[in-house]
Assembly symmetry: C3
Homo-oligomer: 671 residues x 3
């Protein structure tokens, strides 16, 4: 690659050929060099089980190749064609309510269906055989946004196989699930049903009588979906030895544990549709977290933004347009966090069905004189100008944030103490504080090597697995800082409580013992004093007995008024921090800044709200500093580094006045 990839999903099979010509004229105007083709193309690639038809795809690939575009070739298996569902009704999913679906929507195939597996893999192989040698094909894109779940009999059987492999015998399974409770001891594998509304659940997927079976089903389902990816990848690899194979992930997507998938992706990519939030600053932080998570999947290697919308989404209740400049701002933010390609869904608006109002580079009239097209084209030109400068560059982080799907699942399916505690709320609150502090940050699984970090933050790490406690002790011993929160360290990998003081294997390190866990409704606030100010705490209030920790923050109300809410234990050359409640943003920021300050890691623009500073450093050591103004207001800041702005062309010395319009982006090639 000689530049940041730019383009996106392109489905010309929906249009007559004269529209293709107009498309390519527009692509040229917009600096588009990368096209993702074939997503959802199954029906025309294989109009019947015994018939393939590559005529349309040949034309699409041929034209893109001839036009010099880089092609991302998708297998079309994200949506079955009608004939498949009709011939194999069991290839459709059974939902959480226990109902077999018939044909409709997309992402509708049972991952345990042998028919679907056979047919999808065969088609992937055919595509690989036909287009694998084409040099224009720079990547393979398997399926689409893997997700959802199935509870059909085939999945039930596959689940039992998975359990047999995981546990070996029923005694171990019964122990892991604590089935002695409520007389659930399984005496035959066949007695185990998929956990859903007809068995262990009530009030939905988060309410289960046995957390163990539900947790394992989520792990199993994540693996089952991965099985589909792997089968297609294997079929591709029979014909395509080296072109990288990926799939488009969805960032902070709860149903699939991307850490279980990561080893199998040749590079990571994801679709960036941040959830609606009236605050652009919170939205920016949310995207930064997701970029970090995806970058962390492959050990910090650059990733792709496989999709983002040029303007609106369509699937939400309310679908605003991106304000002027936001498309550019968010695209550069992607690059700042490690993206080496920034792609759109989609090149042209569909005529009908549920995405006809989803934004596109070209609208239904095909105009190139709209605001949206103009912004797309200006960004294309800018990306071309920057060329290969930052390609492959890495984020130089000394701070790690731990994210763990098992903890996410476990804490949200827990009966007690408080259903209002949501994993992402806590993780994003701690991330936001780190992000605003302007410190380079990696987002990592709990299995990651922590030896290169000074600070490790583990919010709401409900489940503690493997040797993590040892690695955290090591971190602290050698002078690092560890920070965790209420409801962390509660359960082992089977979601069973530690038969020890809370927080289990962290208790000794943190120097505290949690004797009681109070919970209150969302309108109840307990003021926590920390660092000379009072901060609102909510939801959960642990009554903490300090054993060897220093008390840095205390509750202001209730029968535990005056007892510890924030503690710090000096350990080895480092420190272990504990926050026994859920603080508001100011409280989280105060604690996080204190921890970062121990390592002088607070960034230069930490006190300028909504101005983001991010870095990438090339293998050769070239340093690029991005300054992004998400605040919505014009602001002048001291330039955080010296260098030349590759976008504006101006040179700055560190500390110079840097005037940032709303949505401004500065990309400094540092001297």
């Amino acid at each position: 690659m000689t530049r940041i990839g730019y383009g996106g999903d392109y489905n010309p099979e929906q249009w007559p050929r004269e529209v293709w010509d107009a498309d390519y004229r527009a692509f040229a105007l917009a600096g588009i060099d990368t096209l993702t083709v074939g997503v959802f193309a199954w029906a025309h690639l294989q109009p019947a089980e015994d018939r393939y038809d590559f005529a349309v795809m040949d034309a699409i690939v041929g034209r893109a190749t001839a036009e010099g575009k880089r092609i991302v070739l998708a297998t079309p298996t994200g949506a079955m064609p009608p004939w498949l569902a009709h011939a194999y009704p069991d290839a459709c999913r059974v939902d959480f309510e226990g109902r077999r679906h018939v044909y409709g929507q997309r992402h509708n195939a049972c991952p345990s269906s042998s028919d679907f597996r056979r047919l999808s893999s065969a088609l992937a192989g055919r595509l690989a055989d036909r287009y694998g040698a084409n040099k224009a094909v720079v990547a393979w894109h398997v399926g689409n946004e893997y997700g959802g779940a199935c509870w059909c009999p085939a999945c039930g059987a596959a689940f039992r196989d998975w359990l047999r492999k995981s546990y070996g015998d029923l005694d171990r399974l019964n122990h892991a699930w604590n089935t002695v409770f409520w007389s659930h001891t399984f005496t035959d594998w066949e007695q185990i049903p998929p956990p859903n509304a007809l068995s262990e659940h009530w009030r939905g997927p988060d309410h289960t009588a046995f957390q163990g079976i539900t947790l394992d089903y989520r792990r199993f389902m994540s693996d089952a979906l991965l099985g589909g990816f792997l089968a297609e990848k294997a079929a591709i690899r029979e014909h395509v030895p080296t072109t990288p194979v990926t799939t488009n992930l969805m960032g902070l997507y709860q149903p699939v544990d991307y850490h279980r998938w990561a080893p199998h992706l040749d590079f990571a990519s994801w679709d960036n549709y941040p959830p609606a939030d009236p605050s652009p600053v919170r939205t920016a932080a949310r995207m930064a977290l997701a970029h970090g998570l995806v970058r962390g999947l492959k050990g910090g290697k650059p990733f792709w933004v496989m999709e983002q919308t040029p303007s609106t989404t369509a699937s939400r209740d309310v679908n605003p347009v991106k304000r002027p400049g936001v498309l550019r701002l968010w695209s550069w933010q992607s690059v700042a966090h490690g993206a080496d390609a920034v792609l759109y869904f989609q090149m042209r608006n569909s005529r009908g069905a549920c995405e006809k109002y989803h934004g596109a580079v070209l609208d239904h009239a095909g105009r190139t004189d709209t605001r949206v097209f103009r912004e797309v084209a200006e960004l294309g030109a800018e990306l071309a100008r920057v060329g290969d400068a930052v390609l492959g560059a890495r984020t130089p982080a000394r701070v790690a944030l731990l994210v763990d799907w098992d903890s996410w699942w476990a804490v949200e399916m827990s009966d007690g103490p408080n259903r209002h505690v949501r994993y992402l709320d806590v993780v994003t609150a701690y991330h936001r504080a780190l992000w605003q502090a302007g410190v380079p940050l990696d987002v990592l699984p709990v299995t990651a090597d922590l030896t290169r970090y000074d600070v490790v933050v583990a919010p709401l790490l409900h489940m503690v697995k493997g040797d993590l406690p040892e690695r955290v002790w090591d971190l602290v011993d050698r002078g690092g800082s560890f920070l965790t929160t209420a409801l962390s360290g509660r359960v082992d990998e089977d979601d069973n409580a530690f038969l020890a003081d809370v927080p289990g294997s962290f208790a000794g390190l943190l120097g505290v013992r949690v004797e009681e866990t109070d919970a209150q409704p969302p309108d109840v606030v307990n003021p926590v004093s920390f660092g000379g100010a009072a901060h609102d705490a909510r939801h959960v209030f642990e009554v903490v007995v300090p054993e060897s920790a220093e008390v840095l923050g205390t509750y202001g109300a209730d029968f535990y008024a005056g007892t510890p809410a924030v503690t710090r234990a000096a350990r080895g050359r480092g420190s272990a921090w504990y926050v026994g409640t859920f603080l508001d943003d100011s409280g989280v920021a105060a604690v996080v800044r204190s921890v970062l300050a121990e390592h002088r890691l607070v960034g230069p623009l930490a006190d300028v709200p909504g101005v983001e500073v991010a870095e990438r450093v090339t293998v050769a050591g070239e340093r690029y500093v991005f300054v992004l103004n998400h605040s919505g207001s014009a602001v002048t800041v001291p330039c955080p580094a010296g260098g030349v702005d590759l976008l504006g062309g101006r040179a700055f010395t560190a500390g110079d006045d840097l005037a940032l319009a709303p949505t401004a982006v500065v990309l400094l090639r540092c001297q």
Copy 2:
């Protein structure tokens, strides 16, 4: 008919004969001359498949005939008897969730069940054979409140037949539904399932992956229900050549397209249960709209109010009593809008089951000294006094409001831009402004002849079908005014986007191009300045590029501040107005008044809130002006016309002080 029909649903089969005697004494006191009998009588008319028993019905009809009442004879097919469901389980419906129901409730028969069709038609024929010659029978009332839907295999098959007839071949169907999107290309008719929660839908009936299939299913289901009506009507017509046949509609009822039904009704009738609204004025406008819609079904001919409650409903969460005077006010409002009969549900309170607390002319104690009975009787006397004066008279409207079920369905099942936009909210807002302006108004389908109108208002006309654009051009050319709103003109009859500038086939007429469609949550307001005032706009904000239109209103906020929100294009001798957002009541009123003012159509009491003026004109040219005070307060207004008040007896000259107590009704026979 020699007077406005008065009476209602009467089910004496629920009572012993001595109660019948009391009933008729009460009917005499209340001036009741019309009785609807037979609704839900199936179980006693046909106690088993092979046995009919007309003894009870003979007595009911005989007594009513002997008492000189006019009889509306209902077929009882709105509710199956248990034996039918038990013998033919497939006659029960499958619901949206895919579940086959067993026996219960009412309106419970699958419209595609051949068993139900056979049995219901046979019974209708038997009734017609037995009672068709009775001169007291003035109308036939088929079934009851047709509605709901079924998704059973029989409906699936009937749907595919309907599609075959509509599309001829699968290529046309695939094109119409844009199935190339998401690999949905159907290659065999049998692959097409009924669209519900098990196929294309999630989150309910308004969320579908393919709008095309769902839209067609709604059309099909409306036709399927109509099929049941038609089969019974045909059976009746074998024995009854001329007595009119109707069914009781439900006004603004979303699931059934009454415009598809209208040609098959001999006259229109409906059940007037306005939705709960704390504002009596809004409620009055809502009823006026529904009356107009029903009157519009048969080209402006008078209709019947087949049901209204004398006091309370029972089926709602909260069921208030009608305040004193309201029964009379609303009944006269019905007449003012074209009703030639005003009937109640019901004559006597049922003992048990779900309507035992539904209001009735006679309560459980059978008292005739209650407030409710007193008001019923006073109105009966008043109706008798007015006699045949207004019978058959028409509404002299020069303004038309277009209502379109396809647009209603399409806009509410659309993914994007904003789920908070509800069709009826917009239609009722524009109607309310027209109603308050006091202009005679017709409510019409989009297929209607527009040549007799000066102003046509088409709120939220999302779908544009047939030659409507030409008819609107004609209107404007000859000096008329056309007004439409945001999200109009977006899709063709298949719900596919026009491949052209928005608003599609209206763009040229309106002289604007909509470049972007922004959407915001309900709490976001953009102030629109129009006519010297600022009005709140919400939900959708189209970024409008004026091509040849004059800008009359502009946004006050966001990146499109200062751009057009309201435009007017001079076209031919007329004008074409566009409102690119959804305004509050004051904004809609300001725009609507401006349009009406172009034709001097604003009524004399337009500025007296809640006072309604309505007219009927007989074939002979006699003009009746109704003045109705819905405001809740006493008010004195200039009399809008000269004439004698048929209710109060006083004569007025136009402009005289007319003192209106709360709920006052004046019915002027104009000189």
Copy 3:
């Protein structure tokens, strides 16, 4: 018994033997003398259909016996083992939505399953045979918290049998259900389906087209569940002639009519988990009501609190800890209202599954130095100190509150007038007023003997059955007072309206006629003046015509302003009060105090909010007065009786200053 029982649920089968040793050391520290064992033990008692294994239970029972504990021996049939569900899928329930469940959760057995009945009874018999002779076993505890419902075909058949027995023939059934309405006349028993979402219901269990069938299904299901209890009890009785048999009820639990169960319980017991309420005073009153209800089941005999949590629940959205002193306060409140045992769920926290965060005497670390254990142990010591003083003592009540499941069911499944009226809201409001007035109170079924009472309060007694009107006339004739409210006296035992003036059989006694029943949304308030003050009334406003009653309160607004809202009829030597609306707490209190004042029954601390006074009197006539401070504040009151405080040791003369800390408890042995 020589002391109030103390202990609770104990499941040592979940732990290795060394934990058992620790448990018994802790029990000794805490003064625990009673252990409930065997709940949910089925899987280890009977690991396969053809194999029983009593080894673990032998050890549990043997150890408890050896340690001198009193054993409550539970049959484990509250949860099926997996093998049972797998072998007999029909033993699983079909839910309200019509779906057959597979294995999961607990309370999961169909009560009509012959397989479940056979196996559960057999196991109960085996347990009785093996442990029935053990003198340490002081009670048998069948199943657990019977509840829920099933709608399977077997239940459908059992329902029809139940109906056949209840009605004899279909004519009587059709008349009772008023099936002539909506053509529902059943002509064969087999046509009657279980009423659920697939038949008569929409929007859930409270929305039914036919109240009659739904009401009967609730009665049937209550009886069907009772059938399971009775079968196990019979199996026990084959081996255990006299040890009392009970089950743990759930207080104000709507699905099961405990008055139908009461005759079959040897003593009553219940699980005290009051619903979350931010007001501790409301919570205290709620518990007092439930204690009273349970005590009323067995004619005032002492009952047991079979479960309460030492600290937190786990199953709620928010699970707070019990504040310091609350455990003691609530435990003594139980005793004050008639409990002769106060037990916990549970002795030790489970490791995993949905109750792992439910509070326990011993936490996961097994500590005995926690606040919770300390409070448990202190209470244990206190209970031991009091010894057998109050055992067997009764509450000397002259006031009765009537609670009726049929009315509860009927009013909440009624269509009209207002779904916001909830039975418990009204009953608890009237109870709260009585409770705060400090008057000894019995909570009784409508069939109870009323001859010993001076005041009978019957809030929202929608259904009137049997000879209750006669018994109420008798009460009033001999000088008593009767008080009832809006929506009372509306329907007979079949839920059919009385064909008479409202309130039916109470109208003559009350001297009023309700002519209209208005309903308004929750935000509409009508001020009712009574006793010199204005009180807010909501939801339902009856328009009351006084026939012979005196008007004591009137509406302040709406068209019925000035008409009666509260009336009193002098009858015989007594009085009959009617409140035709739903008043706020101050209004209810004003009316209730007026009624009590007629009999000088207002207690001495009635005006001290949140301070409860309760009495027990032994057979020998010893009087114990409990004073409990639920107010959350310290307060000094005049001592309501003279005597020695058995807890604090101090002697008081009536009228002495009694200083009550928050959560204070005083137990006076009166002189």
